[in-house]
Point group: C2
Chain length 566, copies 2
């Protein structure tokens, strides 16, 4: 509940054909947040209970809950879409910053992968149809339906600032958000259980009580339902490799739903769109790489390809005998240290470039950016926590060998890289568009009188259109016009920043692929497992790593925005 | 990182004798947040590592880290105090909402209890001085010093909006905040370990690996250092009973430091103080209870006394044989169900009274209130989580007896009570002062022109004092003047609200005392322990309950504010 309300008067003017005027926005938000929190905690309880074999909560209970939630959310979405189609004046404003094209594109991409996953899952459960609960086959089918409806809804409505049925819309959006987060939690838990099962063959440790879902299914209905046929095993392997996309789909949808929720009942002036923010403009595809020095993308691509090769070699070698595991780990850590070191230096140089950059900071209200910053800072906590636990284990642990030193360097660089990358991205997102140098922004000067002091309040007042005088003194013209008169020295900086963001983007993709598709040096490396014990270390990694993986994906989408903006 | 920046122009006018103008407030905040997060995660790693006996992190490591942090924070505080004393113009504004008298009074009270605890701790560790590490005696001494310095600092400076050395001050405040949170974590973990040790005698379950600190100390230096003398055991008992006060002290100090951090570099107009918010005015002590119907405080006091008696009977009976434990639990749950049911009804009726209340909502920026709301909503999550886990255990578990039914009713009412109490408190905190009815607030009407649209922006502009015309149309005069002309019907509502807040306040105190001083029906009651297994259930309760206890304390301080405001 952040104090984000615009001051009273800007909320007052009634929207064109709006419902009853909203006296207190936070009250409406409060109810929907309480609804979402309670639904989410109930789901969380069932999902975490279902993950433990000792606990008498079965995965069919979890599937039943998720299916019900998805059906309800889909019904609400259909209601929303029908209502806004019939009555277009229900959405008087659209937020130009919300739902940029790369976010919606990513959503569609991940949505398609989720649909494939659902096909695989249906195939897997159909292989032993006769001894399964019907809900297990119904669940992926309903999920496919839900994904199709939700993707269409977000593609069409992500920018809406709706002004009818405010409370109902808020509750609906929050319920859909809770559904997506519940699906995310279920997928993460299911993947961790699967991972723990495949690890437990190498670590013959009996202290962890998790079992793979197929074993659990067997324990419920008897031992004759096992996945023996080749087709069934392909389905099972396939759906586990597609989980990362499902996880990202849920998170992308959640962020877009949150921004829509923030925008419910929001008033925007029509002039805000063209107000020189530049967040909304999409680059022409022809000049996509023309404005860089090529060094960033080329170096990034090299690292990407090398990383992919090392990841494949690591995955093949790490399940072998002791010596080859050691070798694979040394290789994996060396690559990561090199990559993280380079990323740290590059982020740092980006921040240094900003020290010489005289563009004005953009102080305007922007829920999308606020959320981006909060997610970057929050999701980094997961990787920080893992790194600090590693550091303590290596420093306090007894055997100090090459692997310990590499692990320590890796953990320290991981922290440094997250810190500097966050600083660089957050500063980039707050820069004004190119050319908006402070000397030509009259509204940064102290209070000339009422006219200027009111400039900001005015942008959110739709019923008070800016007078010609005010519009003429607005800080920046259209970005194209400014780009032409840009000084060559500024252009050099801009190219550098574009190179930096592309390099970081490619590095983040490879650092996303490695953990998302199953690299777990945390368990292959015995330092932490010996120090903390298997169950404690597994709990730490399984809780924190999903946030670390989400951080990478979110950094990629933010860096894409930085690339477009700089 | 919430989007709380005031629009550009209000930040621009230079403060009287301020440092260089701050271009981008978020940049300065970012650095200090990163510092605090990293320090806190390091402390968290060591503290959680130290709690597990298997892990080779000793409590001396934790004590050493905490002592270092407290020394550094105390040095920074001394530097800050000296600097502001020497140069009074460094603090040009004071935030009237920050550090109200009851918060500072509570801080001093809890600070004194913490000092007594430190005496007990020093006495306890001195009892076996010869075989202890010196840091264990140094730690409480340094803590006492730190508490004295910090309490003085917060008493004097809680309202400061400092305008020199912005980045250094932000980092110092965040470091002190991190120190307080680390002390809180260490105290909570130490108490949980103690609790687990005293529980493990009744549940002879070997799956949990925690040991009491004295046992750990013995394992390090040999078995001749045990607490045998009567004095030593009194010291040990005493310091564990004083832990809840130390925990609350750290949390109170943290909230005040956070508000100070938010206020660094903030610009306030001198007119904001008297602007009819009423948050700042303290009630005259004579009329403290005169404005109530006495029903609330009397009913609350009865519940408080009955609750205290039941708590003492429960604590005596629960450690006895099976039948008496059962009896004690039935009594405990019955009282809690009655108390929670009444509180739910009373909160609900408070919300209904607000539906007929026509006072305007207060939309002004107020970091203290934003933090209060966030903490109420966030801390309630702990109790929600415990309740949902209980509900799942009772519903899915097999034996359905009286205790199961009581447990279910208790969990459901706990959720309802938290929801309705939060709604009531948050709505109360956002009401304007009494008498500020919407019909006499011209600025709530839609946009009459630039003059009115600018009213809100103007309040934060120190260099543009309100013109006489504007001041004349400001929504409310001083509260005293308004109270006289208050309609009798409004006065009746106001008395009701005061009764409600006093009743809820007293109930929250008794519901704070019970868990804070060691009532753990979660473990005496076997439903959840059997369902989830001891280690999982202990993890859930030990992580979530500290937030639940904090919620009660924080609700008490918020309800006191509601009482004063309504």
């Amino acid at each position: 509940m952040s104090e984000e309300l615009a001051p009273g008067p800007t909320e007052s003017p009634p929207a064109p054909r709006a419902g009853p005027r909203e006296v207190w926005k936070k009250g409406g938000r409060l109810l929907s947040v309480l609804l979402a929190v309670n639904v989410l905690l109930l789901a969380c309880t069932l999902i975490s209970g279902g993950a433990f074999n000792k606990v008498a909560v079965y995965d069919t209970d979890v599937f039943a809950l998720l299916t019900t939630m998805m059906l309800l959310a889909a019904l609400w979405i259909l209601f929303y879409v029908l209502r806004t189609v019939r009555c277009p004046e229900a959405v008087p404003y659209r937020d130009a910053h919300a739902g940029p094209i790369w976010l919606r594109g990513g959503l569609v991409l991940f949505g398609i992968c989720t649909l494939i996953m659902d096909v695989f899952k249906t195939g897997y459960y159909s292989s032993f149809f006769e001894c399964q609960s019907a809900i297990k086959i119904l669940h992926p089918l309903i999920q496919a339906l839900f994904v199709i409806i939700q993707t269409y809804f977000l593609w069409v409505s992500a920018k809406d600032c709706i002004h009818v049925h405010l409370d109902l819309t808020r509750c609906g959006l929050m319920f859909t958000l809770a559904t997506n987060l519940a699906i995310w939690m279920a997928a993460v838990v299911d993947e961790s259980v699967h991972q723990a099962h495949s690890d437990s063959s190498s670590h013959s440790n009996t202290s962890h009580s998790r079992l793979a879902p197929d074993q659990r299914a067997g324990s419920q209905v008897g031992e004759d339902c096992s996945c023996n046929t080749a087709v069934c095993q392909i389905f099972q392997q396939g759906y586990f490799y597609l989980y990362p996309f499902n996880i990202e789909y849920s998170l992308f949808a959640s962020t877009m739903l949150y921004v829509m929720w923030k925008n419910v009942g929001r008033l925007l002036s029509s002039s805000t769109h063209g107000h020189g923010h530049g967040h909304g403009h999409s680059p022409s595809r022809v000049s996509l790489f023309r404005e860089t020095f090529f060094a960033g993308p080329i170096l990034g691509l090299i690292l990407f390809v090398v990383g992919l090769a090392i990841f494949i070699i690591y995955e093949v070698q790490v399940s072998g005998e002791e010596g080859r595991t050691q070798q694979a780990l040394v290789m994996y850590y060396s690559f990561n240290i090199a990559c993280l070191g380079l990323m740290t230096l590059v982020s740092l140089s980006g921040s240094i470039i900003y020290r010489f950059d005289r563009r004005a900071m953009d102080h305007h209200k922007n829920p999308t950016r606020t959320l981006d910053v909060a997610l970057l800072m929050g999701a980094a906590l997961g990787q920080y926590a893992i790194s600090y636990y590693s550091i303590v284990a290596v420093v306090a642990g007894t055997p100090r060998d090459l692997l310990g030193a590499l692990n320590l360097a890796h953990a320290l660089l991981m922290i440094a890289q997250h810190v500097f990358q966050n600083v660089f991205i957050i500063e980039s997102l707050h820069r004004g568009p190119p050319g908006a140098e402070p000397h030509d922004t009259p509204h940064k000067e102290p209070c000339h009188g009422l006219t200027f002091a009111n400039l900001d309040a005015l942008h959110t007042l739709p019923s008070c259109p800016p007078t010609p005088t005010l519009a003429g003194s607005s800080p920046a013209g259209p970005p194209e016009a400014v780009a032409i008169i840009l000084a060559p020295e500024g252009h050099w900086r801009r190219r550098c920043l574009k190179d930096i963001s592309l390099f970081l983007l490619l590095c983040n993709i490879i650092l996303w692929i490695m953990p998302a598709f199953g690299a777990r040096p945390h368990f292959s490396n015995t330092v932490e497992v010996d120090f903390y014990g298997y169950s404690l270390w597994a709990a730490i990694v399984n809780i924190c790593l999903p946030f670390g993986i989400f951080y990478r994906m979110h950094a990629v989408s933010s860096l894409l925005e930085v690339y477009v903006l700089s």
